[in-house]
Amino acid sequence: MNAVAGPGGIGVLDLQGGVQEHLDHLRRVGVSAWPVKRAAELDGLAGLVIPGGESTCLSRLLTIFGLDEAIRRACGNGLKLWGTCAGTILLARENVGETPSLGLIDIAVSRNAFGSQLDSFNREALVPAVAREPIPLTFIRAPKIVRVGEGVRVLLQLDDYVAAAEDDRILVTVFHPELTPSLAFHRYFLRKCGLNPAGADDAGLDPDWTPLSWTRFTHHV
């Protein structure tokens, strides 16, 4: 857990939120994955996941020790980024009614667009670029992507909003693939990072995953 990130591995921004869940999924697809808390730990990474959590909290913590500038610089140098839920809010260039944070992808997001926790939900959808079969999606106090700019491809449109999109450097999903047994989006991100994920069937659910798999990456005393 505290090991140093190796070259070509994937980092998970470890300031707050669903860090262990992403580490668990990334290890399942056979890639070296490490928590990242400090600017120096970005060196040599192929990709960085910005997990779900609370976007105001994450945006404050990003600025305090200069991680925001380091991530912008690394992205300019080829680091691929993936934001889930709050991570999408942080990466968006426009955040309706709020100040944008990293502002690295030309989309507009509306924060907490579905309502309270009682409006959180699961559903399934086919995302043709990512998997051949429909995959389970988990939305928790999710934002909506309400506009995508030129150069941004829509991966999944649902009802009145975009749920997943990407440009050449950045993937954004307003839902949480790391909270489901589906590894499809993690494999997709690894391919985007130029890595070869384990497992041929990209639509497959991991039979060994449980809702408590994340606990193996927590700090046991």
């Binding site: 926790q117 106090r141 909270l179 408590l212």
Partner: protein, 293 residues
Amino acid sequence: MAENRYLLNAQLAQMLKGGVIMDVVNVEQAQIAQEAGAVAVMALERVPADIRRHGGVARMSDPGLIKAIKEAVTIPVMAKARIGHFVEAQILQALKIDYIDESEVLTPADEDCHIDKTRFEIPFVCGARNLGEALRRIAEGAAMIRTKGEAGTGNVVEAVRHMRTMNREVRQLATMPAEEIMGFAKVNGIPYELALEVKKLGRLPVVNFAAGGIATPADAALMMQLGCDGVFVGSGIFKSSDPVRRAGAIVRATAYYDDPGKLLEVSMDLGDPMPGLDVANMPNEDRLAGRGW
């Protein structure tokens, strides 16, 4: 509650990990907490230190106040219901807040029964002093646990005691031969299936925050190093001399809990912490942690 709804509720708590949940008594404090980087606010009429001072019966806050706070922030809003007061919980669910804390800080409404949380769609967090208490609440439907500590004292000693007790009991279970588990479950009032789950995981099967007496960035980092997943700060922020600075410092200390250099940096020049209370000589009737079982 359907199984997928319970899972969504436990997963919201997962998204709060590594964060600080702050008690707030008005819209202005809620906005300060959000700006400082709180992952959620606990909306209430009085912080625990004032509940202690006022005495009398402490009840669910006026829903009008909770509603105003809900409208003022985008982060999750929690509110407290009395132990066993399932109608206060029904009202809070109708208000569509994000999480209910069935809390010993309020005066219990039922000394025998906690709320049957499985009857609700909304998630619950409950306090616990040890593994058995935590697992009884989970069996009743709680999607998140917190240590009870001793709220409103600014004294972290009870939160440490409760966290160490849980850790010790988890370790005992983890190394226990199978034939001893039923006896351990019996003595500690633990549902057997949950004892097996804890043995397998080596930890609680839900997110576990520390609460009750956290007043400084060092307190927050101490609880994180003791293995909790995040912290609640009740009176500790808005009863200090500089809430804005202290709130931000505790958020940073919780994120960088294992980095003494950064803890040093964030601990400087914060003004006076809340005044503390000695717990060792506190009479039992003043202790909030003894409420509920």
